[in-house]
């Protein structure tokens, strides 16, 4: 005979003002199997928990029902209280009288009746609860960081410096990301590469970091603490152990006209190339789609010239498998090209460029060695128009959000242009100025007051070309929205920050959520910004949403701290609410007939086939088997099983049936 204790919480006014808790407690005292039934103002408080503890001791309870808020709030609290008295915590359950009752109904008899029903259902369930033990899984103390931009670099260094191992993968030939493409950064005008490259070198040299560049994630299986990652190392066609980084091959390559991705199409590179001089690792790769040898079998100049014999044309992609305990996603973002804008020329005007392209023109290592020149004819532009909000905050173009960084980098671009071309004319068309960081507003004021950048509030309706100049038609909304026409030498569009191509596929590979713009979703926008809804996988940087360098670095360190917290234990405990296939004595062994519908139905791939063998090795029966490490306790298999051979611990068929029957009686 059961000895259940029932504890009805008023939750202050939350439940008490709508439900007659005293009546519920009195009614439930009469339920068969209930040994103790009280109500109290705040069950989660210390005195409230003491009530439970004392009742367990005095009344020798073998089950507890706390009727209060949602189990998501306080189930761990009450289970801990029970465990302290030596009761298996899984014999304690909660009935939700708040979210399921008092918060959704008006005060009245019907509401109190419902509360009584909820409690009595849970009593029936708990009568059939069995003691369960949490499952322990080991933790692999290696982190996989996907993406080698500043976010990935920071996260890797933080984790590695704490003594844990990191595998950092980057799909480009070099780490550095977009930050390596920037000339100077706001609000300090620090040289971007000067603050980035020391960290890049640190990553390459760190004993705890294994760096794979030109590599991508092939697949990710497993669960928190126990992931299995397969990484595709794309064939570089270079033997990195032999290559000295001398650069003779890149000079020798006769194909000089391929547009350089690093220079945003404004410069060129060969088919064998290092993306930029400060690349880490400073070793080339061969772009097989452009290389003459791979297209026609001829040339081989790089092979001939290489003093170290490091060129290996027959190198294949290599897939390596690594066990990791957690993943940090730092894949960054992209910006729309100028072809995104129908009213600005569909990308056909060479002198209409986007922000990243202008960075390359400003950069000392860029295609014009830091001189601002028009891509069309190489002359120095005397009049530049900068257009903020190009594509952002634009539902007509499908981008509703603000890209956050453009107001700042536009001010920066205008300032740097004025510093380089003293008699140049810079005009910025803007809608608002979003300069919310430390020193940010002062930076924008400097552009306006000291560098005399013209700020005009209004958007540009159209840009077209006439006689080699760009005609910009905007408006000054602070002067009655009068049309303003400017004949400019060059236009820089602060284009919208967007997710990287391939983000959707990557998110699906890792089973993490993403939004309609294919930015990865955080677990909670306010209080869990660097976690995903998938345990063990963390996010940092612009892959979650466009952001600047300080926010990115902050998030990267935050994600690293989550990883380190995970790695601080040798074992993880998992809730034992998992499915189990029944076993019984020979010759039946199990009522499972081996149809394996459960295996097909399982969304987590947690069910496999197990052969039951006789002593001589003969296979007697093949039945389903649940991997306790992968099972998430969703119960789909239980619903599918025709022979009722699989059941869910903590939510068995018998328990659920009892609840329903209690409600109907």
């Amino acid at each position: 005979m059961s000895r259940i204790g029932v504890f009805i919480c008023h939750c202050g006014e939350n439940i008490g003002a709508t439900v007659d808790c005293e009546k519920v407690a009195k009614t439930c005292a009469c339920l068969p199997g209930v040994e103790h039934s009280v109500d109290y103002k705040y069950m989660c408080s210390e005195p409230g928990q003491s009530l439970i503890r004392e009742a367990i001791k005095e009344k020798k309870l073998d089950g507890v029902v706390v009727a209060a808020c949602s189990p998501r709030m306080h189930e761990p609290t009450f289970r801990k209280a029970c465990a302290e008295m030596g009761m298996n915590p899984f014999l304690c359950e909660m009935a939700n009288l708040r979210e399921h009752c008092s918060w959704v109904h008006a005060k009245g008899d019907a509401t109190t009746e419902k509360a009584i029903d909820l409690v009595s259902m849970m009593v029936e369930k708990v009568k059939r609860n069995k003691p369960l033990n949490p499952i322990k899984v080991p933790v692999t103390k290696t982190a996989l960081v996907i993406g080698g931009g500043i976010a990935g670099i920071q996260a890797s260094l933080d984790i590695a410096n704490a003594g844990q191992k990191v595998i950092l993968i980057e799909k480009e030939p070099s780490i550095g990301g977009h930050m390596a493409q920037l000339s100077e950064t706001f609000p300090t005008l620090d040289c971007s590469q000067c603050i980035l490259t020391p960290r890049m070198v640190e990553v390459a040299q760190h004993p705890n970091i294994t760096l794979y560049t030109y590599a991508e994630l092939e697949s990710l299986d497993g669960f928190i603490g126990n992931f299995k990652a397969r990484i595709r190392k794309k064939a570089k066609s270079i033997d990195e152990t032999l290559c000295t980084g001398c650069g003779v091959c890149t000079t020798a390559c006769p194909l000089k006209k391929n547009p350089s991705e690093f220079n945003m199409g404004l410069g060129t590179r060969g088919a064998i190339y290092v993306p930029f001089p400060q690349a880490v690792p400073n070793k080339p790769v061969i772009d097989r789609t452009k290389c003459t040898y791979f297209k026609t079998g001829k040339c081989k100049l790089c092979l001939t010239k290489c003093p170290a014999g490091a060129i290996t044309y027959d190198q294949q992609d290599e897939i390596i498998e690594v066990p990791v305990g957690s993943v940090v996603v730092t894949t960054g973002f992209n910006v729309t090209g100028t072809d995104f804008f129908s009213e600005y020329g569909y990308g056909k005007y060479k002198d209409v460029v986007n922000g990243l392209q202008f960075e390359r023109l400003l950069s000392a290592s860029g295609p014009t060695l830091g001189e601002v020149k028009r891509p069309s004819d190489g002359t120095v532009p005397k009049k530049i128009v900068f257009i903020a909000c190009a594509g952002s905050r634009d539902p007509a173009k499908g981008i509703d959000y603000c890209s956050k960084i453009c107001c700042m980098y536009t001010a920066k671009h205008a300032m740097l242009y004025k510093h380089k071309v003293h008699d140049g004319d810079a005009t910025v068309f803007y809608m608002d100025i979003r300069a919310a960081g430390k020193g940010y507003d002062e930076f924008v004021r400097r552009a306006i007051e000291e560098d005399h950048v013209n700020y005009i509030r209004g958007r540009v309706s159209r840009i077209f070309e006439r006689n080699g100049k760009l005609i910009v038609r905007g408006a000054d909304t602070l002067l009655g929205a009068q049309p303003v026409e400017i004949e400019a030498d060059m236009v820089v569009l602060a284009t919208a920050g967007i997710s990287n191509p391939g983000s959707e596929e990557l998110a699906q590979k890792m089973h993490i959520s993403y939004d309609k713009y294919h930015f990865f979703s955080e677990a909670h926008p306010k209080v869990r910004p660097v976690e995903t809804n998938t345990a063990g996988i963390f996010l940092a940087g612009a892959c979650q949403s466009p952001k600047d360098i300080p926010d990115t670095v902050g998030q990267a360190s935050a994600a690293a701290s989550k990883v380190l917290a995970l790695f601080s234990r040798d074992e993880l405990t998992r809730e034992p609410v998992i499915a189990v296939v029944n076993r019984t004595a020979p010759p039946l062994f199990s009522t499972c007939v081996g149809c394996f519908m459960c295996q097909t139905a399982c969304p987590y791939g947690a069910i496999s086939r197990e052969e039951i063998k006789a002593r001589d090795g003969k296979i007697l029966k093949t039945v389903a088997s649940v991997n306790p490490g992968l099972c998430q306790g969703c119960g789909t298999c239980v619903a599918f099983c025709k022979s009722k051979s699989i059941d869910l611990q903590g939510f068995s068929n018998e328990q659920v049936y009892a609840e329903v029957m209690e409600l109907l009686s």
Binding site: P395, R459, R473, G474, A475, T477, A481, Q482
Partner: protein, 184 residues
């Protein structure tokens, strides 16, 4: 189209919403419409300023809009809505404002010619079912007093066979429509 609950909004913006479903709040005053409007330099209130006046729901602002020259200078070229980031259907808003301006007898003095033109056009259709240029111009000149307008052009048009001296009589094609209009 985003529609907020406008519960009994007696303002001009409310009228716009009732007639068209357009919510003037959607405009964030970026000025792109004014920047691209071919007639903006002639207008007293450029397109985005017209919307700003509606957003205030202030009686004086509303009067300013309805008695503006701008709403009659609008060419209905659709350039504004083609480029508006918030997809505000300004041409439709202009139609509502024009009709309301007539209704409240607030037409800008400079716009009287344009209103006369439209009225003459409609009357010509009512009488003949199709456009008869001489009928249109004739009534327009009587209404506006611009008797010498295009006197040089008319003979050339006639000689080129593009101007009929006599109208075609197709009044019955539109009789029912105009009758229904009178009843309403």
């Amino acid at each position: 189209m985003l529609q907020s609950s406008h519960h009994e909004d007696p303002s001009l913006a409310g009228l716009v919403w009732t007639k068209t479903g357009i919510s003037v709040e959607r405009c964030y005053q970026c000025g792109k419409c004014s920047a691209g409007c071919p007639a903006a330099s002639e207008m007293d209130l450029t397109p985005s300023v017209v919307l700003r006046h509606l957003q205030t729901r202030d009686a004086d602002s509303e009067k300013k809009v309805l008695s503006s020259y701008s709403i009659w200078l609008c060419l209905a070229c659709q350039t504004c809505i083609a480029r508006c980031p918030m997809e505000v259907d300004l041409p439709k808003v202009m139609d509502v404002l024009r009709i309301e301006s007539l209704h409240r007898h607030l037409v800008h003095p400079k716009a009287k010619d344009i209103v006369s033109f439209h009225t003459s056009f409609i009357n010509t259709i009512k009488r003949f079912g199709r456009l008869w240029e001489i009928g249109l111009i004739g009534e327009y000149k009587v209404r506006t007093g611009h008797f010498l307008q295009d006197v040089a052009v008319a003979p050339v048009m006639f000689l080129k066979g593009k101007l009929s001296l006599v109208p075609e009589l197709h009044r019955k094609f539109v009789r029912k429509i105009f009758a229904a209009k009178e009843r309403a």
